[in-house]
Each structure stands twice: as C-alpha cells, then as structure tokens.
Subunit: 440 residues, 2 copies
Amino acid sequence: MSDAKMAMVNAFDAEAASDLSAADRALIERRARLLGPAYRLFYEKPVHFVRGEGVWLFDPEGQAYLDVYNNVASVGHSHPAVVEAVSRQMAVLNTHTRYLTDGVLDYAEALLATMPPALGHVMFTCTGSEANDLALRIARHHTGGTGLIVTETAYHGVTSVLAEASPSLGPNMPRSPLVRMVPPPRAEGRDAAVVGAEFAAGVKRAIDDLAAHGIKPAALLVDTIFSSDGVRADPPGFLQEAAQVIRVAGGLFIADEVQPGFGRTGAAMWGFMRHGVLPDLVTMGKPMGNGFPVAGMAARPEILESFGRDLRYFNTFGGNPVAAAAGLAVLGVIRDEGLMENAARVGAQIKAGLETLATRYPAIGAVRGAGLFVAADILEEGRPSATLAARIVNGLRARRVLISASGPRGHVLKIRPPLPFSSENAALFLEQTEAVLALI
Amino acid sequence: MSDAKMAMVNAFDAEAASDLSAADRALIERRARLLGPAYRLFYEKPVHFVRGEGVWLFDPEGQAYLDVYNNVASVGHSHPAVVEAVSRQMAVLNTHTRYLTDGVLDYAEALLATMPPALGHVMFTCTGSEANDLALRIARHHTGGTGLIVTETAYHGVTSVLAEASPSLGPNMPRSPLVRMVPPPRAEGRDAAVVGAEFAAGVKRAIDDLAAHGIKPAALLVDTIFSSDGVRADPPGFLQEAAQVIRVAGGLFIADEVQPGFGRTGAAMWGFMRHGVLPDLVTMGKPMGNGFPVAGMAARPEILESFGRDLRYFNTFGGNPVAAAAGLAVLGVIRDEGLMENAARVGAQIKAGLETLATRYPAIGAVRGAGLFVAADILEEGRPSATLAARIVNGLRARRVLISASGPRGHVLKIRPPLPFSSENAALFLEQTEAVLALI
C-alpha cells in the first residue's frame, strides 16, 4: 500500500483486493479512469449503494446495510421532510443573497435561536471547509494575527490553508509555518479542571512558540468533540481554560461544530454548549442540510465588525433559498422527532453495550463519546492496534454494518450513525460487533 | 458610502437609500441584524424576489423582472428538468464518494465528453472557489512552485488564498506576496497574435518579478472571458502564447471556466476551446447545477499523478448523487434545448443592438463579448463613467430589467442572461435600454 493510503484509516487498496465481484472491479476501474488517483474508497472491499432510507443503505442486490457511520444524512437517509422542502423550493426560486429573499432570514433566525444570544450573526457557505476558511479569514482580519493553533490529528477542511492545518491528512501534507499543533485533551478519569489546565498549557506553549517566531496568534480552532483525534468528549468543561488562554493572547476561540453540532452529542445542539464555553466564531456543516450542500459560520457581532466594514463576503450558492429550505427542514426534524434526546438515550445504550463487551473482549479498550458519537479504542495485547481495528471495521462491513476507524494511530472505532438510530438498531449493532469480536 | 462599498460595483448603500417601502426597509434591517455587516445587496433600491421562471424573476407583488444578469440559473430559473432530477435523486440516495455510486461516474463521463480528450479526469467540489483552490493546491504540488499570476481585476473566489488573488475584491483585501497581477488582454481592433504577444509579455514580466523574489511560479490562472476585467473575449486565440510562456517557466495554465463555461460564449462549451488552447487544469462552477451547489475541476491526468499518489482529496458533498443528477440534467438541457446555439444567435443580436445604440447615444462606447456574455463601456464626455453606468443599471432596474456593471473602473455594463433568453427578450432588453439612455 502506498504511504498516502497508509495515512488514511480504512482506505481501500486496489493492490490488496482479491474477492471483488467482476461488476465491482469494473466500477472501481471506471471510477479511477474518470475521477483520477486522488479519490479513496472505504473498506478492503468497497460497498456500492443505490438507495438509502432512514438508517439503512441498500446495494444493487437490495441487501440492506445498517448505517452506523454517516453523520451527513443525520436525520436519516432520504428524509421525506427534507426532500419535500428542497423539491418545493427548487421549483419556486433559487437565487443568491444579493437580492432580498425571505427564506435565508427565516433560517438564520431559527438557527441563531439554537445558540447563545451573544452569537448574533450567521453567514452561509456551502461546505464546512468554506466555513472554517471564512472563520480564519475573519479571525486574521479582526485580530491582526496570523498564527493558528489546532490539535495534533485535527481535520478542518480541504482548502489550501485548512489542509495545511489538518495533520490528519497525513505526513505528505505540507505544514504551514503559521500553524502550531497541540495535544488533544486527555481525560483518563481526571476532572475537567485538570484536563482543561493540561490542554490549555499546550495552547500556551504553542502561543509562546508562535511568539518566539514573531507570529501573533489569530485563533485556536478546535472540533469540540475532537473527532479525528480519537473522539474526546469528556469531561465537559475542559475547553474553558484554553478559550481563555487564546483570548488573553489576542486570538479568537473558534468552535468547529461540523461534527458535534446539530444535536449529535445528545446533551446540547452544539458541542461548545456542552462545555459551557462561548466561542467567538462557530462553524458548522455536514448534517446541516442532511446532504444538501449547506454550511455556515455564526459570530459574535463585534468580531465581524471590521471585516464587514473593510471587506465583504459573497458565496454564490451560500444561503440560497433552497439551501435555507433544506436547513430549516433539518432543524424542524431534529425538534419534531426528538432526535437530540434520541441521541442521548441510544448513544448511552451503545456506550454501555461496548463497555460490557470490553469486560469480555480484551480487544476493546476505553470507550468514549457523547450521544451518537461513540469511540472505542482497539487493543492487541494491551497496545493500540490499527490492524485489529481494521479487521473489526471490515468484519462488520461483511455483516453489512457500516462503521469506520480514526484517531492518530487508526485504532479508534468511529461509531456515528444517523440520529434516528433506534434502540433496536443499537442492539443489532452490538450483537454484530460481538459476533465479529468472537471471531478475531 | 464606505470605501468597501465604493469598491463594489452596484452595491446598495443604506445611508443613501431614500425611497424604500416600509416592507423593504424592515426586510433590509432584519437581514443586517441576522446576517451581519459583510453581506451586500445589489442596486440603489434592492429587489425582493419570491419566484423565478425561465428568464423572469417575480417580486412579492407578482411584478415580473427580465433577468439579463444571472448566469447561475443558466438553463432558466426553476427549470423543471433540473428540479425533477434533483427531487427524484434526493428521495432515493444522497451519499458521498467513499462508497461506489453510479451517478457521479455517469456525470463525470458526460462532462469529460464535452472537453478535449487530453483532459481525462474530473474531480468534484461544491463551489467554484473550492475548485480554484483545489487547482492551486494541485498546481503547487505538481510544479513545486508557489507563485500565482492573475489579471489586474481578477476574481477567482473567496477562500483565503483566492481572496488574496482576487484584486476585484478591492484595495482593503490584502495581497499575497506570492501573487502577481498582469494587465488583461486588450484587443482594440488588433489581431490575436499581437494581443496575445502583449498579454504574454505581461505574464513573462510577472514570472521574472517572481524569480527576482526567489519565487517559482505554480500557475497562470485566468477566467477565459475575463469577466471582472471588463469582459475580454476577442480576438479568439490570444491566450495561446501566455499558456506557452507559463509552461516554459515550469508553471501550469489553469482555465477558470466558472463564468464562460457551459456554452455561454455560444462558440464552444468552454471558453478555452474558443481560444484553441489546452489548459492543464480547468475549473468550473456557477451554472453547473443551475443553482444546486456543484462545481469541479478537470485535469490532464499527468498533472494529478503526484497529488493523487502523495495526498488525497475528499469533499463531503462534492460529487454526491444529487449534485451529479443536477449536473447531468443541466448538460441534457443545454444539448436538448440548443442553448449554446441560442447563446450565439441571441448574443449576436444583443451585441448588434448595442452597437446600433452606440451610434445614437455617446454614453455607449465599445461593445464586447461572446454569446450571452456581453459588455458595453459607458462613457461620459468620452471618458469611462462608473456614475453613468450605475444610473443605467439602476434605471433598468426601475423598469424591471436586471443587469449589473463591472470592470476595473466600474463603467462596464454586464449583460449575462440565462441561456434560454429569446430574441423577443433581447428586443425588450434593447428597447428598455434605449428608453433609459434617452432619459439620462
């Protein structure tokens, strides 16, 4: 396998593939011919999907796969309320924000109502990458600084400046001299004040190192559930001190809510609220339109002031009436179907189930997470094992259960289903996981 | 008016607004409260739209506005074929490119079939900004260079690196030390070889200046119709020498087709084809999904090779089945409704009509363009006049005809309707333009 494929957890490797069907092999070749070499598939044996419904994806033979991974179709695949909202609005009007339209304002109002009042404005982009890139532009303009602090295995997006600040893209990705990486928070049974002080001390060291190189910090940018750092949710509160430290140094605290946002943690609509911390800028994406490309950034008004005065922002498709309709429908479904409460309840069930499995299978180490974002460390002889994690991920795939792995050493199971995941779905997932564990 | 609003052609200025209705004033205030200060509206008196159909947009009173400006709803507002394709696909499956799906490959094949065979791969993003940003990442990785050459009033997007390479965003936007700006091609009745040599000489000077600062060039990035430089379409062929010059220096030639692409010039699906030049990378966006957020980048396979080997690219929503369905529907409509041929025919009618008006109204100077992208310089006492251009743009808006202005001095009318613009629509536009000219 190439270094770059090694660097991606759960990447398909054509050279190692053996038991592909003729149809899948042809499809993979066609894909490589048309899309080129930069695309990666999941799994030793990739999956081919033709239909999705709720928490299920279906292959061309009509076989159902339990989706325990996808956080984009967060309110469920092909949710009729979102399909209808998009279809209806597309047939009526789809234009941009340099004309007055009502939908974007109705959506902005509903979205801001889910946040603390201090976050008074929201701006719309099409992707989480664009949202983080915009947040960085605004942070740099507001603070006059250029330095950026992220965690050691962070992922924040694919634009030029974000890829350079996303060490999870692997060692071949050049790092920017303006970026510093800090260790993610490590709970290990300690309380929030201790974990928070340790994390903040890392941020302080990064600030000092930037200063030693003559670089003023613009921002500390963190995914508030530290997804690619192996999922670090607890103990709630550990973000507060670091947010304080970056502000004292003149930088902003940016909460990347692309993964924890929209109720996934079960405890609050936004990951930062779970930590009782108020960010200067908040970015969001993936689940925002249930797959319709919509993303955005909320801001404390005082942070936007100079950017809005000196510059402007226009995103051709950002905040268009169809995107707004998709976003508003998603908020409605989360509320009407009680999905945040469901995430709390079913997430706790999954966590407890994995903890029980851990008592019987030494391959399962620590179990972490919040709501329907659960992680389990996979160990072999007590040590982190990406190989064993990959065997579990691929073993589940063979049983038509979709999860993946992540973390700095690729040994962390990533369990992150659509939010309508039921108690029965969770029981099936745990049952299949146990069946795989029993075989390895 | 603030400097930043001065820097944007046709920006609404709340301080100067007088005759707004109470409803519009309330809507504008609500918008500022929710979206903050970085958003800009068009026109002295903004327009509020609630419905779009074909080449018409409708305000809340049901008044129809002739759309002579919007190139995103390029096959016509709310086109039923696109609405249906998106609605149908959304109800079935919307997932990402790490699973095998068929739609993205069918679309990739159809899209690449509109280009020279040397452009063998296509990658998908959600916005033109993301496409240009990706092209720049790939150019830098492939060449090992970092320098970027653009035109003096270029616009290429809103990500951090692209905003710094988009001088049309105004003087408050910081410039990157890695970017050089060159004068756009100036035809002035001369033949392609002369215009091309002059443009290429500018590029050569920029390469030399980069070299003098120890910077190796990565790319020359140009919008092949030079939209924000005042629309520079003729004479076809003038891009060839510059493409040669950048390659000799080790850089790539990137064609930004976000504006001229998808048949708008009437002469070819892509602006670069009109010039008989083969780019290394081609970026596209705006009209690609008729308003659905889809964009992309085509590449010569050899350019992608090292990027694909050393790194990877994943765009969460990019190339999802719904985006692919939207894109495929747009290609189908362009072909089935003969929209490229229509752009050639009706574009020629508009150009000829404006040239006739120029003989009677000294306010109209040179008329330029290709297909349904037409520009007219506005002069006062023979000199470029942004003030007069603004009066014409706002005069047409009062008559419910939508255009805008652009160019380095804001004096160029930008006439760029949806492609199904008919001969009758063109006649109405010319009639209304004459009525406005007669009054100023």
